[in-house]
């Protein structure tokens, strides 16, 4: 997606002849020497070279800078000749920077990347943004303005002033005037500053706030200072409000991770009563399935999750069924012993993954449509991966609820778990139900694994990190209640996120644990208890 946009931008720029003069030999030479400077000079020289290239107006300037930013600019060891290289399965495809033509291949021992640092990168971005300002593509323009806003200076503002009138898109125009306003805050005349201040009112941007604060604190003109202070209060107030929203979002997101991790356990442990210590490892298997799926379809990462979700469900489900058939079914009626056996299984699974996939973390890529954030406004942006995880958690919850309410499976599972012998005597095939349910619980754990692979490590230890929290959530919510798991997970997540800023992450976690311990004293059966005579029949 991004890459596509970039290509568009580049080709459009070229088509429009943004760069006026036709490419001549002299230009080429200048570019080549700048390119050399990119490789050989100090980082300051490199930054200067970037500027020179951008200002040269050479038609290849934009693609070369883009390649530099994308770390695709290499030099040949020995000659020092600059090329653009794209990695292939083995080695690289080499392109000539001047012509853009493919000129052959090179091995990893022949070329080296042109090294740049953040300063150079920042410079290159700024240059590209400047070029993008007059792009016909709306997206490109908006990104360019956005970028320049953070570093707007009088020169840039001047540039924008020329463009703002013609800008057809409202939002972009607004941002442009913001940038202009920001630049004018340094104007010597108080009136202009005051006027500029007005254009800034209402914006929640960091930079705006900082600049306004600067004026509010030490503008020589009292009127400006007062107005700035007023605007600043407004900004701060609104930012605080949005900050609260952000905190709730964080809480929900943390909670949805908890509940997703706990759903599988709510089934195997809550409903079936199996203390499944291997639950975390099933989550891990789900995550590794995602990894394998991405390995198998390296060119379609964007769609890999749609394959990974059913695949993980199946793989872990099958593991679950195998565990149930192989071990757990011999242990019904001895629920505590399942702890021992599943603990053994968890050790085996961990080591299995270590042996097969190495003990290192595996890299699972995030599809483009899941990375980044939705910017609600400058003060609140919701990270997409978290947003999707929240949605996914609720989706899984809904499906499970439906499954348990709408089919007889739920009924049979509960019957079996309450009285195995009698369930069989009324015709329920307990072994089938057990295998199915455990498989389902395991499969749901696998789904959690897919989701977790998008926000955290995929490694042999990942299961360990979630097992305790999962048990805690299930017990807090009340074993055997999906609703309990939902409410339990979300409330613990939110609680944690509200404590964290006050106490720090470590203490917050301790406090949440203590809270749960004390809460269980109050409600010994969790949030959604199963009450009744049976529980106390003696």
């Amino acid at each position: 997606m991004k890459r596509f946009a970039r290509c568009m931008l580049v080709s459009l720029l070229m088509a429009l002849g943004l760069t006026a003069s036709p490419a001549g030999a002299a230009d080429d030479e200048a570019l080549v020497s700048s390119l050399r400077q990119l490789n050989e000079g100090s980082f300051d020289d490199k930054a200067a070279a970037v500027r020179t290239i951008a200002e040269s107006g050479h038609p290849r300037a934009v693609p070369v800078l883009q390649a530099l930013l994308d770390s695709r600019l290499y030099f040949r060891i020995g000659g020092g000749e600059i090329v653009i290289a794209d990695s292939l399965d083995s080695g690289f495809a080499v392109t000539d920077p001047l012509s853009g033509d493919r000129v052959g291949e090179a091995s990893q021992y022949e070329i080296r990347r042109v090294s740049i640092n953040n300063a150079v990168r920042t410079e290159a971005r700024k240059m590209l943004a400047l070029a993008g300002l007059s792009s016909p593509d709306r997206q490109a323009r908006s990104e360019a303005v956005e970028r320049l806003l953070e570093s707007s200076d009088p020169a840039i503002a001047e540039r924008m002033e020329g463009l703002v009138a013609e800008e057809p898109v409202d939002a972009i125009r607004r941002d442009m005037s913001l940038a202009i306003g920001l630049a004018r805050l340094d104007a010597p005349e108080a009136a202009i500053r005051l006027e500029a201040l007005e254009t800034l009112d209402g914006s929640l941007r960091n930079r705006v706030r900082n600049e306004v604060r600067r004026l509010a604190e030490n503008d020589p003109d009292p009127a400006v200072q007062a107005r700035a202070a007023e605007i600043l209060t407004g900004i701060e107030e609104r930012r605080d409000l949005w900050g609260l929203g952000e905190q709730i979002f964080f809480g929900l997101s943390a909670g949805s991770v908890l509940m997703l991790a706990a759903f599988g356990l709510a089934i195997t442990f809550g409903v079936m009563g199996v203390i499944n210590m291997a639950h975390g490892e099933l989550i891990m298997l789900g995550a590794y399935t995602t990894y394998v799926v991405q390995l198998l379809m390296p060119n379609a990462i964007d769609y890999s999750l749609f394959v990974a979700i059913p695949a993980a469900f199946l793989v872990t489900g099958v593991f679950g069924v195998a565990i149930e058939r192989g071990v757990i079914r011999f242990l019904y009626g001895r629920p505590l012993e399942t702890l021992l056996a599943t603990f053994g299984i968890s050790l085996i699974l961990q080591q299995l993954v270590r042996t097969v996939f190495s003990p290192l973390n595996r890299q699972v890529s995030t599809p483009d449509w899941m990375s980044g954030a939705i910017e609600v406004n400058a003060a609140l942006s919701l990270t997409l991966n978290r947003l999707y995880v929240i949605a996914f958690a609720f989706l899984v919850f809904g499906l499970l609820l439906l499954l348990f309410k709408r089919t007889t499976l739920g009924l049979k599972v509960r019957a079996v778990s309450q009285n195995r012998a009698m369930a069989r005597a009324v015709g329920v095939s307990s072994s089938r139900i057990d295998a199915l349910t455990f498989g389902l619980g395991a499969g749901v754990a696998g789904l959690a694994g897919v989701a977790l692979s998008q926000i955290t490590n995929v490694g042999p230890n990942m299961g360990q990190a979630y097992i305790i929290d999962s048990f805690l959530v299930v017990v807090f919510g009340g074993a055997g209640s999906l609703w309990g798991t939902l409410v339990g997970g979300l409330s613990l997540g939110v609680l944690n996120k509200f404590l964290e800023p006050e106490t720090g992450a470590v203490l917050a976690k301790v406090l949440v644990l203590v809270f749960v311990i004390l809460f269980i004293q109050r409600r010994p059966q969790g949030l959604f208890p199963q009450r009744g005579r049976a529980a106390s029949e003696g």
């Binding site: 021992l340 074993a479 106390s536």
Partner: protein, 376 residues
């Protein structure tokens, strides 16, 4: 004429403290083995020349001493899990608390031999810039005080936790999970440097105990003997407890708590009592363990450790006391062996062992040995 007593009432011991080991083959073997160890190991270690095949190295003595601590810990857990039916997933916390109490004493014993040479403050405190000893470190320069605390601190924490949990009738898995939460909370809290227990690195660098150097083989041997004695005594104590009527009440609580209550027994008192007792035994195990390994840090609180204790008991045989002790020692021995022999594969072996034991020897290893029930 006295009524002819049915043979059945003879099953109930006359006085719990008399003929303690009556019908307890496993216990006799265990105590016998301990007695033999106490006598033989020092001889083999000190009296036999190192080149002889019968020589027991200092390393082995140390290892054995630690297994005995684990056995004691397993015994403590069996008391609550096997007899009172309370599955604690947090017993490691009591063990660690006992260990910390002892560690604090050992820390104070370092005196000015520490890295920074402060006569009072342990190194980590100097390093964190603490000016004076926090109040809860007072008294730990006295061995008797530390020993008492190794009993009391786990006891008090056990009591508070149990008091809260049992009076609100938190039972079953709910109790298990909150006990796990408890040890987890302890772990996180002890990780914090501000707590004053050395943070992640914990307490280490011990020099001597009661004036004897910890690196001295004789001290090691003494600690080993102390562990063996502690295990033996604890076994007898537990045995007495489970043979007493109180022990039968506790088992009744395990099987049918409401019914026990309806007979007039305050089941919460019984649970609290046995839980606290067990916590204290675990504390003793921890206190003996720390000088033998030379370090105590928050990872002893990690929930995984507590789960492992449960596994030892289950492997050994739950509800038999001596089985638990055996499990504690054996599983750890297996780990020592396996981690050295098949470093890459040992988890497979250990995991497989756990699965196999549950499936094929539901009553643990001692289930293999015992043909007939001999509960008392």
């Amino acid at each position: 004429m006295a009524t002819p007593q049915s043979s059945a009432t003879r099953l109930i011991p006359e006085r719990p403290w008399r003929r303690l080991l009556h019908g307890d083959m496993g216990g006799r073997i265990l105590l016998g083995a301990l007695a033999v160890l106490i006598v033989v190991i020092p001889i083999l270690n000190q009296g036999v020349s190192p080149s002889s095949p019968f020589h027991v190295s200092d390393y082995t003595v140390n290892l054995l001493g630690r297994y005995l601590c684990f056995a004691l810990l397993a015994l403590a857990l069996d008391l609550v899990w096997g007899y009172a039916g309370i599955l604690s997933l947090g017993h490691g916390a009591f063990f660690a608390l006992g260990g910390y109490a002892m560690g604090m004493y050992l820390m104070r014993q370092i005196g000015d031999r520490g890295v920074y040479g402060d006569p009072v403050l342990p190194d980590f405190m100097v390093f964190l810039g603490w000016e004076q000893l926090p109040w809860f470190w007072y008294g730990f320069d006295q061995f008797w005080f530390a020993a008492l605390m190794a009993l009391l601190v786990p006891g008090v924490f056990g009591f508070i936790f149990g008091w809260l949990a049992f009076r609100s009738r938190v039972t079953g898995v709910y109790l298990s999970i909150i006990s796990q939460a408890m040890t987890y909370a302890f772990m996180l809290a002890f990780f914090r440097n501000e707590m004053g227990f050395g943070g992640n690195n914990g307490l280490t660098d011990f020099k001597d105990i009661l004036g004897f150097s910890l690196s001295d083989p004789q001290t090691r041997l003494a600690l080993f003997v102390a562990s063996a004695l502690a295990l033996g005594l604890a076994y007898l104590l537990c045995r007495m407890v489970v043979r007493s009527r109180a022990g039968r009440v506790v088992r009744a609580v395990r099987d049918a708590e409401p019914r026990t209550r309806s007979l007039g027994y305050r089941t919460d008192h019984y649970k609290l009592w046995i839980w606290t007792l067990s916590a204290m035994l675990a504390g003793v195990a921890g206190a003996l363990y720390v000088p033998q390994v030379g370090i105590i840090n928050p990872s002893e609180f990690s929930p995984l450790n507590s789960i492992e204790i449960v596994v030892w008991v289950a492997v050994g045989g739950r509800g038999t006391l001596y089985g638990a002790a055996l499990g504690g020692a054996l599983v750890n021995y297996a780990q020592t062996l396996l981690t050295a022999m098949i470093a890459e594969l040992w988890l497979f072996a250990l995991g497989g062992l756990f699965v196999a034991v549950t499936m094929f020897f539901p009553r643990g290893l001692v289930g293999l040995l015992r043909r007939r029930e001999d509960r008392s």
